[in-house]
């Protein structure tokens, strides 16, 4: 455990020494949410709640709730794509020197988890300037779940694809998934929607914002989904780490 803690502490210190990246982590959620909130009209639209039921809200409110999980999905997903690749060679030397592979992998996932948490806090803070979620905890959990799940997806994609191809996937994936397939302004969702990484996170966010309760089933399935993607990402990373 001490080795994991050391690797995590030093891994975070590396990130703390990238001021431009930290500035982007702080600025991008504000920019993203604020632009959508400013452009969207205040006309009323029906918002479809998970599990049935509809409420009517201002389009601007619905759009802020829609885009909040996209922020964490994009930022943490793309960071996940880069986080393991960026230190792969040095990590390899560290493991050859005697570091336990699980400690290194856990530390890298720990860095990603911290990025997801920070992005969630910033995104929720800026969203609160425009909307008042009925259940703040559920709203924040959904945003965190979107980031964590896409972070793991990013890690897995990074094992298979190079950075250029990976960024394509990690842009179009979350955008298609969360912005279009999980969009609560449409009543009839595609069958594919329930299979996508952003599904349960979006349900949590919409329910937290507009239904006033915490859909425990969505949270449970979301965590199961996250666990599954996390296991696949960890397996893919460790497998890619075997001697060539």
């Amino acid at each position: 455990m001490s080795r994991t803690a050391t690797a995590l502490r030093l891994g975070l210190r590396e990130y703390a020494r990238t001021p431009v990246l930290l500035a982007l982590f702080a600025f991008l959620p504000v920019y993203f949410v604020a632009v959508f909130a400013s452009v969207a009209p205040s006309t009323l639209v029906p918002v479809h709640l998970p599990g049935g039921g509809t409420v009517t809200r201002a389009t601007a409110d619905a759009v802020v709730v829609l885009v909040a999980p996209i922020v964490t999905a994009l930022v943490v997903g793309i960071t996940g794509l880069f986080v393991l690749r960026a230190t792969a060679d040095a990590d390899s030397r560290l493991v050859i020197a005697g570091y336990d592979v699980r400690s290194v992998v856990l530390a890298r996932f720990g860095v990603l988890a911290v990025v997801a948490l920070v992005e969630t806090v910033v995104t929720v803070a800026v969203a609160l300037a425009f909307v008042s979620p009925d259940h703040l905890g559920g709203f924040a959990l959904g945003i965190l779940l979107a980031g964590a799940t896409y972070g793991a997806v990013g890690v897995a994609v990074g094992v298979v694809l190079d950075r250029l191809s990976g960024v394509y996937v990690m842009l179009f994936g979350p955008t298609l998934d969360v912005f279009l397939f999980q969009n609560p302004m449409t009543g009839s969702t595609s069958d594919v929607a329930a299979l996508l990484p952003g599904h349960y996170a979006s349900e949590l966010v919409v329910a937290g914002a507009f239904a006033g309760d915490l859909p425990v089933e969505s949270l449970g399935w979301g965590l199961v989904y996250l666990l599954g993607v996390g296991v696949v990402a960890g397996w893919a990373f460790v497998r890619s780490a075997r001697p060539a």
Partner: protein, 244 residues
Amino acid sequence: MTATASRLRTAVLASTRAFARDPFHLTILLVLPPAVVVGYGEAMAAFPQLPGLSAPPRALGRISGATFAAAFLAGLVGLFQVISASRADARLGLAGFPRTHLLAGRFVTVTLVALVGASVSLASVWYDTVPERPALALAALALAGLTYGALGVLVGALLPRELEGSLVLVFVADIDAAMATGIVGELDGIAWVFPLSHVHALVETAVLGGDLAVGDVVGAVGYALALTAAATLAYARLTRGAAA
């Protein structure tokens, strides 16, 4: 062949080969546009006729997907070309290779990617919706690619780190593409803020028919030219005597 033409040819070939030698890049170029076009079409098919939507949602989804794919394919190539080669370009510049030729090499590669991306995107739309004016549709999609190609070069020259540059380009593109769909609302008076808004309108007109708005032509071409000029300046600043 004059010395200038020879150098230009060398720069273009070197730049294009570096991109094309990775089979993943070519695969992405051929696979991503159909996936995005179909994905956008299917996802938006479930939408009601929202106030900002200027056409049937499914057709609009395909057009938006095609515009987004053509634009971002070239944009990311522009970004990675500049970041990965800036130091070598600076060294070549000091060795006597005119930087204008090096930049031309980058832009020609971006243009080729834009043309291929536009062609594949248009073919993906054509599969379901026969364009009213195919040549105009191809030109408009290629213009979307050139606009984002220049934006990618600009971001890469101002922020020459892959993770940070990717995050900026992804967020700009995502907002831009989302706004262009019209899901968020109409962009009366502020369309000029978003690089894809005019060119998206051109693609829509070319595919679905209707009168070509001069404002959209001027806006789309103007955006491409302005970004190309800005990218040229930023690239010249990046490669100025920075061989170390």
